[in-house]
Symmetry: C2
Subunit: 316 residues, 2 copies
């Protein structure tokens, strides 16, 4: 009953890092890597490759930079068939800092890009591909960017890029399953020679449902995070995705242990999940940054006020 | 863009009552009734009509019995166009206790039934319809009951019952959107002269997504609860459903206030929502009672043990 081509990518450390300045300690990252490897997950994403000229290592943890040596420290001695991924943002990485794949523990580089930056993204994708990496392009904020520019960007990616996978990223948690169906079909109409991926956000509790919808329409690269950790409302819970997929290569039990021992205690210290201001952001197709700021203020439970402030912003 | 025929039913007090022995105080119930009325929700369900010969009022709160006078006390003085519903379980109500609709504050009676009890359910439905109530039949545990008996039960309901609405109830939170699509289509093939309803459970974070799926395939009666309160993982969050439906008759703001002032504090006292043992129950298509028992034990965070115990039960 399972589809062989489906690949699951865990981005617990990478998307989770967006809520703690990428400052997970080595012990925690090793535990995640161990559990994800034992569960048979195909890829694990550790964080971002950012230039230290743009971001200070004093302000951010190791997973904002993902030095090869740091990755070696959290993976060495652990048996694993899970490939390692890192993400780069357009314009935030020095290409000469990236070693050839053969000299790095990293297997895949994912380029996060807005539609408007597709030319820069293609340049980077091809650069990384030429260095031997698997590559994906993750098209962010897609719920806001569905004009003809999207078709043109997809056409360019198909013709000019060496990306292996083109990802739909629901950055604002604003998509419903009908929109996901429409987008996957639209992507597949233009992207003929690459796989389609889906990265959901859980603002409206739809990350898992939308991921299933993407699977139904033949997206084969799927992101999840353990216990749904991630920015704002978080992501598609990896444990639900593994429970849904019928491929016997997956074993959910190491993930269950990791949740028991690491994620449940962590959730008491940092906040993610179903929280009303994030739901409101999702409904309104807004970036969650205003909601994240609200949650750090003394008005954190004033949902009506937040709703009305977003409503009036829209009328400007 | 909205579909006029869609009706939303709030069952905060009824399904929420399953986690506190139906013991909400009058002040709380009045606040819920007020908010749901102001939000323009079509129906509100207060609880169960159970026989006091079967359940002791010493053990259970008022909303296990839903006396007409009690309902009057929590609704009087509040302006409302929201109709009032109560639920009955097959075999747990004395029919002679139910007054004619014209003498009661209740507008609708919903009969919860397993497929096997459909004859009894039809008898009750017709009895309540003859007393002047709107009626629905809520077919529980549908994820376990999809044999030919289901078609026969639906055929009987279509031919013999006076029910206005036939509800699909995902008691175990086990349905995915493809199963929901299949069930709604199967129901509509047989049920030609009544509406179809959907009541989701959120064990796998799919209650809202599955409700959208039911809407797509023309189910017009939809259940939700404020902040998703309800047994085990809870239900489809009413606020998400209202955010999704475009009918201008709805106003989400009173619901947001209710969550700020009542549900967030309540959630610190009683537990519902995304909790791994409920997710496991959903994946395995099991009643959540074993998971609910686990959460009251000192093994509440032993997810692997719980998973393995359900796995081995299945092998008996």
């Amino acid at each position: 009953m399972f589809r062989e081509k489906i690949k699951v990518l865990d981005c617990t450390i990478r998307d989770g890092g967006l809520i703690n300045n990428h400052d997970f300690d080595r012990r925690f990252v090793r535990e995640v890597y161990k559990a994800v490897s034992r569960a048979g997950v195909d890829y694990i994403e550790m964080g971002y490759k950012n230039s230290k000229e743009l971001f200070s290592p004093k302000e951010y943890g190791a997973w904002k930079f993902c030095d090869d040596d740091e990755i070696r420290k959290v993976t060495e001695g652990i048996e694993s068939h899970t490939k390692i991924s890192v993400m780069v943002d357009v314009g935030r990485v020095k290409l000469e800092d990236i070693k050839p794949c053969s000299e790095s523990p990293v297997d895949m580089i994912r380029v996060a890009s807005y539609v408007k930056d597709v030319d820069k993204a293609i340049f980077m994708l091809n650069h990384f591909a030429d260095k031997g990496y698997e590559t994906t392009v993750n098209i962010m904020a897609i719920s806001r960017d569905q004009g003809v520019e999207l078709d043109e960007a997809l056409d360019q990616l198909e013709r000019e890029s060496k990306a292996n996978v083109i990802y739909i990223v629901d950055s604002f948690g604003a998509l419903y399953q009908e929109t996901v169906e429409g987008l996957v079909k639209r992507f597949k109409k233009i992207i003929k020679s690459r796989e389609i991926g889906f990265h959901g956000h859980n603002h409206q509790q739809l990350a898992f449902g939308n991921t299933i919808e993407a699977i139904i329409h033949d997206a084969n690269y799927l992101d999840g995070t353990v216990y749904g950790i991630g920015r704002a409302a978080g992501n598609c819970p990896l444990e639900l995705l593994i429970g849904f997929l019928k491929n016997p290569k997956f074993d959910i039990r190491p993930i269950l242990d990791l949740i028991s021992h690491e994620l449940v205690p962590l959730r008491k210290k940092i906040e993610w999940g179903y929280i009303i201001p994030y739901a409101i952001s999702g409904m309104m197709n807004e970036h969650p940054k205003a909601a994240m700021a609200l949650r750090k203020s003394d008005k954190k439970e004033n949902y009506r006020g937040f709703y009305e402030s977003l409503m009036s912003t829209g009328l400007d």
